[in-house]
Structure formats: C-alpha cells, structure tokens
C-alpha cells in the first residue's frame, strides 16, 4: 500500500531524509523510533504533504498512485491521515463543523452526496465513544483550550471519522498521562483492520505496550538503520539509543 524508495527530503536548504526506504503492506503496523532530530517528524509531514518540506529525489507510491504529485488535501481524501504531534487550535470553528466539511470533502471525492445531518450525528456519536469523549467537545472550537490529552484524543476521533487507509501517528503519545495513553491506544486498536495500516512515530516504547507493532524501525541520520520485531523496541527501552549511534557514527 505504501512504498517509499530512496526518498531525499530537505527543509530550508538542509537535507533531513537521506535515501529513506520503507514498504508497508495493508493491515500492518509499523513503529518508527529514534532519537530527536533524526527526521521522524519530517517523514510524517512529507507523507502528509506539508509544503515546507522539499522532496529532492525519490518515489512514494500509495495504493499504486504517485503520492508526491498530490496536494495535501488530495492525499487526505485518498486515505492518508496524519495525527499531528501538535494539533492546531482554530478559534471560531467547531469540531462538528470541521468534521462535516472534512467528511463531505471525502464523500465528494468518492462521488457521494453530502452526508445527511442525522447520519452525521450518529456517526459522530459512535466515533466519540471510541475515544471516550462526550458530545460537548465537538461543539467547542477545534482544540481551543483543550488539554494535551484532549487534543490527542481529538486526533484519534478525527481519524475514526475519516476512516483512512494509512494512519500516520506523529508522537501521539508525547505529553499523555497513563489514562489518556490507554484511551488513545484503545481507539487505535479498535480501528485496526486488514486494510488499514499504521505508521507510528514515537520516542518511547510505552505506547507499544498497548499498540503492538508488526515491525519496529530505528531511524538515525535521516534513514532507517535497524529493523526488527516488537522486541527491538524493548531493547531500545532498556539500552537507549547510544549503541545505535555508535554503530552508525558515520551517518552524522
């Protein structure tokens, strides 16, 4: 479903991703770990289509289509979802109205009529339950005055609403207390299915206690330097990243 080949990406004249390669098949959960500044968030932003990031060379195909040729909104309508590390506050726009616009944008893309109000409310209610949020959240301005945990739950709620096929979670676990972490992880686990793939970016192994990955990759110096199963995450938790840095000192 997602195939990244020799991807080189820079921002403001500085190259961040260097010959990055990754294959994700339908239904797989991949975790990407690694120390700060190795390009994890750059990868997520690039895949989501943030224009500040310049793709120098390389290919990304998503369900057989050239992802890099699509605008950010087209990618989302095609089924890519980025759960933001820092969800943006938008005063004056309620989450309900935002989701209505987003759901209907996707439906239009699929050649469907806008969802009727009753069905939309029913869908919202069902998806809110996944992340243990109450209806009152959705009438408030997007993320405005939300706690860190509420913002991240709102991301997973939106993900559930839009039913993407590729979910990019950019440090969704950072700043979460243990209860919020459990809720977010539960939400993700309920969204898992054979067609939906996840790319989970995290610093810590703790989220992976709840969401069990099929593959764990370690990023360093703008590329994946080690891949393994979930046991790799445990090793990193125990030993830190120093051994990775030593093995790959030539990359920096």
């Amino acid at each position: 479903m997602l195939s990244i080949k020799n991807l080189n990406v820079g921002i403001a004249e500085k190259q961040i991703l260097k010959d990055f390669n990754l294959e994700i098949k339908p239904g797989e959960i991949h975790a990407i770990m690694g120390p700060n500044g190795t390009g994890k968030s750059t990868l997520a932003s690039t895949l989501a289509g943030k224009e500040d990031y310049e793709v120098l060379t390389g290919e990304v195909s998503f369900n057989g289509k050239n992802l890099l040729e699509m605008s950010a909104d087209e990618r989302a309508r095609e089924g890519v979802f980025l759960a933001f590390q820092y969800p943006v506050e938008i005063p004056g726009v309620s989450t309900t109205n935002f989701m209505k616009a987003a759901v209907n944008a996707k439906r239009k893309h699929q050649g469907l009529e806008p969802m009727d109000a009753k069905d939309f409310l029913k869908l919202m209610k069902e998806k809110l339950a996944l992340v243990e949020m109450n209806k009152e959240f959705t009438s408030r301005s997007i993320n405005e005055g939300f706690s860190g945990g509420e913002k991240k739950r709102n991301e997973i709620f939106q993900m559930a609403m839009l039913e993407p096929t590729l979910c990019l979670l950019d440090e969704t676990d950072s700043g979460l207390d243990i209860d919020a972490l459990r809720i977010v992880a539960n939400g993700v686990n309920q969204l898992k299915n054979k067609d939906r793939s996840f790319l989970i970016i995290t610093h810590y192994q703790r989220l992976l206690n709840y969401i069990v990955p099929d593959y764990v990759h370690v990023m360093y110096g703008g590329k994946i330097v080690k891949s393994g199963g979930k046991e790799l995450a445990l090793k990193l938790e125990e030993q830190g990243y120093d051994w990775i840095k030593e093995e790959n000192s030539e990359l920096v």
Binding site: A48, G49, K50, E51, S71, A72, D73, A76, R77, F81, L82, F84, P87, V88, I90, P91, G92, V93, T96, N97, F98, M99, K100, A101, A102, A105, K106, H109, S141, I142, Q158, L162
Partner: protein, 435 residues
C-alpha cells in the same frame, strides 16, 4: 455655476419650515467647511472630494418602486417593524408599523409637525456641524427620515428594521437620509439600518443617525451595508449614553463587484459619548472589500463621565485591490476616572494588492484609567490551513472556513437574534461555507 453657488441656490429652495434656525446654522457652517480634501487630517486616506460629482443635486429625486426594491423586500425575514425609504422619502405603503404601547415610529417629516417638542429637544443636538462636513450638510438639507421614540421602561424585543433604498436616476443626486432614535430611561430597543443601491447607476448618499440612550436604557444598532457596489455612502452615527445606559453598534460592510466603472466607497463615522457614570458602549465593525472598494471606519469613543466602559472590535477582510481605513480614537476626559476602554482592529489581507491604513489613537486626560489598543494586519494562519487540508478540505474551502471564523466574532456581538441569524447566513453565503 460654482459648487458654492449651486449649494446655496438649492438651500434657498428648501422649503422646510421646521427647525429653520438649526438648518441655517448648519448650512452656514457647511458653506465654510465645504467638501473635505485629502489634506484634511480626518480625510487623509479617503479622497472624497475627487469621488463625488461636481454638481451635487440635494433635492430629493423621484422614488418609484422598482422590481429590485420589490424583490428585496420580499426576501426580507418577517420583521415585526419595517420602515422603508426610497431616496430618503418615506413609503408608508411598503412599511409595517404596528401600534405598540410606548413606542412611536414615524417619518421625521411627521415628527417635525406632531412631535415638535421632542424634535426641538433632540434633533441635531449631537451634531458638531462646525467640524463635521457631511453631518452639517445633512442637517441643512435633510428632508425626511426615521423617527423612533421609546417611552420610559418600555422594552421592545423585536428589531426595528429601517431600509434605505437608493433608486435615483440622476447621477448627480446626493441623497440625504437620517434616523433619530430616542430611548428614554430604562427602555430598550434593537434597530437595523439597511442601505442598498436599488438602481442601475452609481448612487451617492449621506446618512446621519442620532441616537439618545437614556439612563439605564439600551440600544443595539446594526448598520447593514451589504452588497455595496456603485455607491458612495457617507455615514455618521452619533450617540450619547446616560448613566447606566448601554449602547452597542455593529457596522457590517460587504462590497460587491461593480458594474462598469463604479466605485464602492463607504465612510463610517461612529461616535459614542458616555456622559453618565457606568455607561457602556460597544462599537464593532466587520468589513469585506472586493475589487476597488474603499471602506473607511472612523470611530470615536468619548469618555466624559467616570466609571464607564467601552469596547471597539473591528475586523476586515480585504481582497483584490480593495483598501481599508481604520481610525479609532479613545478620548478620556479629565473627570472620566476609572475608565475601562479597549480597542482592537484586525485586518486580513487576502491579496497582494489590498491594503489598510490603521491608526489607533488614545488621548487620555485622567490618571486612573485602563485603556488598551491593538492593531494587527496579516494573512491567514498557515498551520491552521494545513491542519484542515490534512483532513481533506481543499485549500480554497479551508481559506473560507478560517475567514468565516475570523469574521464571525463580530456578528456574535449583535444582540438581536433574527438580525444575527440573517448576518450569519449572509456570511456563510458570502464565503460559500456550508455547515
């Protein structure tokens, strides 16, 4: 005929027998002032002199009801009170004024003869005609207008909708329109004034609203300048607020594309004078500029008495080559201790050719006051745009949604629910936001 000769000839022809002394004084003052040029500090960014036609015709033009007028009236929500003017002339057959205890609504012409003592006490009393060019001209020449009086402790909960249509067929017509609202102690009303070009030519008009807010009384006034195109409109809103009184004014301007070589030029002068303790004024505005539209808001809040509060919130969205002017002044007199006065002006420039001149002014002569002002000019937040696009919303729609959110704050302050709803729908329509 020179400008001065033309004006003075026309004044000699004005056959009003009412408030003659005041009109004469106003006329003499206008003769001295003339039409301001851009050398005048208050008209620096709005070169009105070059925009108005040379040979102004100040006598009321014919006022035939055309289909534009009919269709617009038919499209209005069913307001309980509706007063309709064409070229400044009252049309009772189009108006709806149900008898209501404690409320008088009539034409200014009728008030001149049947409410003489109120007219003498209030008409023109807030106009500084030695300095205000257009208010002086209006006071001298105005022929008719809306008169509203609310008796002590009477609360009118339905909005009073005043519609000023301009249908003149003479391009030189400079139509003078006017509203006078007097709300006695403890009474309250909501007023909407709607201005609309219903002709197929360029129109010019000069409107004055005088508003008296009694002790513990309240007035919420909304000025609607919607679909402004092929128009030059000059508006003066003068208000005076007594002890514990509340005044709120929202001026909403949407420009529309012009046909041919038209101008869309709007100048709003809005003044609130707080003359009794604990009085409060809100002066808010929202403006959308398109093409070559020019929208100028000049605001003055005059804190005369102590312990008063005021807020100014102005927001603008400028597209194409449109220009905006914001000039907001807070004046705190020596006796006005414990004043709380705030001002905020924000403008979004959505095109490289749009511009705004923003000038906040504070003049404070008391020592125990809280005043603040902020003026911001900018573009939409890129992060907020990307966040929406990452959810599948197109860049265009995301821009509209953010602009809607930006503008909606001003409409939120409109007290009257039906007017607020009307404006909310108008805003959604304008921005093609459909949620």
């Amino acid at each position: 005929m020179s400008f001065a000769e033309n004006i003075s000839k026309q004044f000699a022809e004005v056959s009003n027998t009412n408030v003659v002394e005041l009109r004469k004084n106003a006329f003499t003052a206008f003769e001295k002032l003339g039409i301001p040029s851009s050398r005048h500090e208050e008209w620096k960014y709005t070169n009105i002199k070059t925009k108005l036609n040379e040979q102004l015709s100040l006598t009321p033009a014919d006022s035939q009801v055309n289909t534009t007028v009919k269709n617009y009236i038919a499209s209005l929500p069913p307001y309980a009170f509706r007063i309709i003017f064409l070229n400044g002339i009252f049309h009772p057959e189009l108006s709806i004024v149900p008898d209501t205890k404690g409320l008088t609504i009539c034409s200014l012409k009728e008030a001149f003869s049947s409410h003489t003592s109120l007219v003498e006490r209030y008409f023109g009393k807030l106009i500084n005609y030695n300095e205000e060019h257009f208010a002086a001209l209006n006071t001298a020449f105005v022929n008719d207008g809306a008169f509203i009086h609310v008796q002590k402790n009477v609360a009118i909960n339905e909005p009073i909708y005043i519609q000023y249509f301009f249908t003149a067929s003479d391009v030189n017509a400079f139509t003078q329109t006017r509203s006078l609202a007097i709300v006695e102690e403890g009474a309250s009303i909501q007023i909407a004034e709607d201005f609309r070009n219903a002709s197929n030519i360029n129109v010019q008009y000069n409107h004055v609203s005088e508003v008296f807010v009694g002790k513990n009384a309240s007035i919420d006034i909304v000025k609607l300048q919607l679909e402004v195109s092929n128009s030059i409109g000059i508006h003066t809103l003068e208000s005076q607020v007594e002890r514990d009184g509340k005044f709120s004014a929202s001026t909403i301007t949407f420009s529309s594309p012009n046909t041919g070589t038209g101008n869309a030029l709007i100048r709003n002068n809005a003044t609130a004078r707080l003359i009794g303790e604990n009085a409060h004024a809100d002066l808010n505005g929202l403006y959308f500029g398109k093409e070559n539209a020019h929208i100028d808001n000049h605001i003055l809040v005059d804190h005369v008495a102590p312990n008063c509060t005021s807020n100014q919130l102005y927001k603008g969205v400028l597209n194409d080559e449109s220009t905006g002017v914001f000039n907001g002044k807070i004046f705190v007199r020596q006796d006005a201790q414990k004043t709380n006065a705030f001002q905020s002006s924000k403008a979004l420039l959505l095109s490289n050719d749009a511009s705004i001149n923003s000038k906040p002014q504070l003049e404070i002569f008391a020592d125990d006051v809280k005043c603040s002002h902020g003026a911001a000019v900018g573009q939409l937040d890129e992060n907020a745009l990307f966040y929406q696009r990452a959810r599948g919303i197109t860049k265009e729609e995301a821009t509209q949604i953010l602009t809607y959110a930006f503008a909606h704050e001003v409409i939120d302050h409109v007290h009257s629910k039906p007017i607020r709803q009307f404006l909310c729908d108008k805003l959604k329509d304008e921005l093609k936001v459909n949620f």
